[in-house]
Amino acid sequence: MINRVNPHLVDLTTVARSKAASMNKSKQKLVGLGILLLMLAGYTLLPPELQQLIQLQPDDATTSQNNSDGQRLNGQEGKSQQLDTNSKQQEAAKSAQTEPTVRSPTNADIENTAGSRAAKEFGQNTPATDDESRQKIGSSQRSPTAASKNSSGSDQPRGPPSNQGQRSQSSDNNRQSPDQTGTLVHGLLQEISKDQYLSPAGLIYGPGSAEGHRLDHLRRHVQNQPKRPGKHGVFDGGMQGALKTIDDAFRRAQKEQRTTKTIDRNRTIYTVDLGKRIGFVGGQDGGRRRNPMARRVRLVLEGKRVITAYPM
């Protein structure tokens, strides 16, 4: 690339050499021009489909390079119109993970980023997050009883759903054994290490409580205890319903939507209004009042670790 040499850098001792070079250069120019004309003539003679093909190829190369650069640098979406919708969706998912503050995040995005962040803390893969893919994984990999469906029973404001106890018992008798690697416990929870389960919203359920595990403690709140003194909050939808509601409550709490928050040392206690029925009030007090519906959740956390959660 002699013609790109900065002329200011050429000193007198190289003048002769540059003259010869410039003669050589004009010869090369002529030859180059000839070749260019030949190519142009050949191109005009080509059928239009082939012409289009020749035009597109360099653009495609640039686009894919731009995309990979963009993703590597800051997750920017590619601008090419030629990308198919699938790759656009993939890109959108990538950018949702990499730039949550730039985009106006939907619930799914928050779920995605929170889940992936918490999973990264434990060096795990991001769990499936949107309902559809979760259901897909749930139904393909888990036992049918474990994939119990959540029915909120919102048309039933008062009292326990009629099949509530039955469903809870049949679907949630045991915390699924941790050796079921690759499956989602209760259709939602990813086992991130021994006895540690991560929810899509990033909450962690681990050992603890009188019951031995926070999930076993939570199980107390998917069935009424009519003899228990005071109120006893019961979630609709068995364990899966409870876990989904708790995740919803946590997402709302993080956005400070209809949430009251108390911090006591390393504990955070949220009371979150979910704006719809999520369970009912049981126990002796609830029974006396014909088991009114509950639409709030009290959530006691230590960091992202769930201590307890119940409807109220």
Partner: protein
């Protein structure tokens, strides 16, 4: 696992029963000389059955403790809070602890 006898509802989490536990019960079966090696004889705790908050006296206005989230220990003897060395106090345990007057009988849960 609900407490048999409680003193009140939990002022911290709102939904739990502050039940009385007796801890150090395994000392009962330990020979005299071994029991002397440990300072902790059976002792009472008030524990919330929802949030695990602990009080060392049957008085919820005193300072509360939060045990380790996964490995909860008795603040007195450092044994496992939910281990074989402790249980929800029955009526005899209450008498032994001399905490029988502290309970609210309306909050009793009789098993079965």
């Amino acid at each position: 696992m609900s407490p048999q006898h409680s003193i009140d509802f939990c002022p911290l989490c709102g939904g739990g029963l502050c039940g009385i536990r007796i801890c150090g019960i395994q000392r009962d079966n330990v020979p005299e000389q071994d029991a002397n090696a440990s300072s902790a004889s059976p002792h009472g705790l008030v524990v919330c059955d929802e949030c695990d908050a602990i009080w060392l006296e049957p008085d919820l206005t005193t300072a509360h403790h939060y045990p380790d989230v996964e490995h909860a220990k008795c603040p007195v003897c450092l044994d496992a809070l939910w281990g074989p060395n402790s249980r929800w106090a029955n009526h005899d345990d209450l008498t032994r602890l001399q905490w029988d007057l502290a309970i609210n009988p309306a909050l009793d849960i009789t098993e079965g």
